[in-house]
Amino acid sequence: MLVKRDLRLAVRQGGALGTALGFYMIVVTLLPLGIGADLKLLSRIAPGVLWIALLLSALLSLPRVFASDYEDGSLDILATGALPLELVAAAKALAHWISTGVPLALLAPVLGILLNLEIGAYPVLVATMLIGTPAVSFIGAVGAALTLKAHRGGLLIALLVLPLYVPTLVFGMAAIGALLGPGGVTSPFLILTAISLFAVILGPIAAAAALRLQMQ
């Protein structure tokens, strides 16, 4: 229900998704201009660039996860409703993942073409991103909940949340390397999955605790 409502809002209000995708494209476009258009170098660093740009793009829409509902009072109604606040936070994070994480992950191969990424790497790249982005949304929701009442919340989220994205990034990259390497090792991929599941469980609990403090 709530997920559906949030998704509908995300689509009809527009803006957020378009901005995130546009930001993603412009960052990836600027990169070859900054470091030079050596195709071999680009294809080597492409997965890392795509992952980091994805993290930054997902950050853009995080401040809105709770803020718009907080401002118009619907968060108060949700907090007093039958649904536990943990599930409300989980639903909001899930909606963020579907409306931001998934489109960004699906856009990545298109940008991969610009960076001369090998075609064979695309399925692996998209798979790791789809598995890793739930962690991005659910950890990000904690940051969004903590900064709900803060001044300059948007800037602050980046400082709070980016250090916590380190494991996701490291294992996202390790999974790509291991799966493309000889033997197709899957263990980093499994650890990445574990990190995402971990975030999906613990993120809403921390986010709900932070929200509850601010609703009183």
């Binding site: 904690v142 300059r152 490291v170």
Partner: protein, 254 residues
């Protein structure tokens, strides 16, 4: 019978007790660090490979220990605030954050200066360096979050949640950056089978570690006292403002 933490929950008793032990702490820190510096500069032998630069270790290692100890203290305080609602827990967490950040910074800078002659570079993306750098960012996040929320009780609790999230994530971050190879030597002082460090180097190191720890406790107690005094001044100012407003209302009513 009250436990020590319960008795310390009364800020007045804390001020009383800490006021009495603070001079001793400061004196002890100065004496132990003085002795430790003497040991590390004049008694400890230069390393047969690294020469004199090994003396950086006597600052670097205790700072790194305290960088981690201070974060642990913040997390314990955060837990104490959220679960037991201990009145001084937030004062402790708030006071420890900048001190811990400072020790983390010292550990990073001295490590960098030590790495130049030893490893030939100021910085490598080694697992330990990276995780200490991220620890530094976590400290900055705590300080920034607290300073950007106006309501102090709310700021305290939100920062406590962030500290607990951080302490849960730290092992994961450490594990993830250790995935790659590391240049850094593994832990060599505390481990099963005894220390691998020669006693001539170990003794000054332990003295310095003790001195730094006492220094940290002294700084922490001093910062906590300042914070309690600041809160009292603020409470007095608020009371003053309330009284002045009441007076104006009364005058307007006449």
């Amino acid at each position: 019978m009250q436990t020590v933490t319960q008795r310390l929950a009364n800020p007045t008793q804390f001020m009383d007790l800490s006021g009495r032990i603070l001079p001793w702490l400061v004196g002890a820190a100065a004496a132990i660090i003085g002795y430790g510096l003497y040991l590390s500069f004049f008694v400890a032998p230069p390393d047969y490979q690294q020469g004199e630069t090994v003396r950086i270790m006597y600052i670097h290692v205790p700072s790194a220990w305290l960088a981690m100890a201070a974060y642990t203290l913040i997390a314990i305080s955060a837990f104490g605030l959220l679960v037991f609602r201990h009145p001084l827990a937030d004062v402790s967490a708030k006071a420890a954050a900048p001190i811990g950040a400072a020790f983390t910074f010292i550990a990073l800078v001295t490590g960098s200066l030590w790495g130049r002659p030893t490893w030939g570079t100021y910085w490598v993306w080694d697992a330990r360096l990276t995780s200490v750098l991220i620890l530094f960012f976590l400290y900055l996040g705590l300080i920034a979050l607290r300073s950007s929320i106006e309501d102090e009780t709310l700021a305290a609790k939100l920062t406590a949640i962030l500290a607990l999230v951080g302490i849960v994530m730290l092992p994961v971050i450490k594990f993830s950056v250790e995935w790659g190879n590391t240049l850094h030597q593994p832990a060599s002082v505390l481990r099963l089978g005894g220390s691998t460090i020669d006693p001539s180097i170990l003794k000054p190191l332990l003295v310095m570690a003790l001195g730094f720890t006492v220094l940290f406790v002294a700084l922490h107690v001093k910062a906590m006292r300042n914070e309690i005094l600041r809160r009292r001044v603020k409470a007095l100012q608020m009371a003053e403002v309330a009284r002045a407003q009441a007076g104006q209302l009364a005058a307007a009513a006449e």
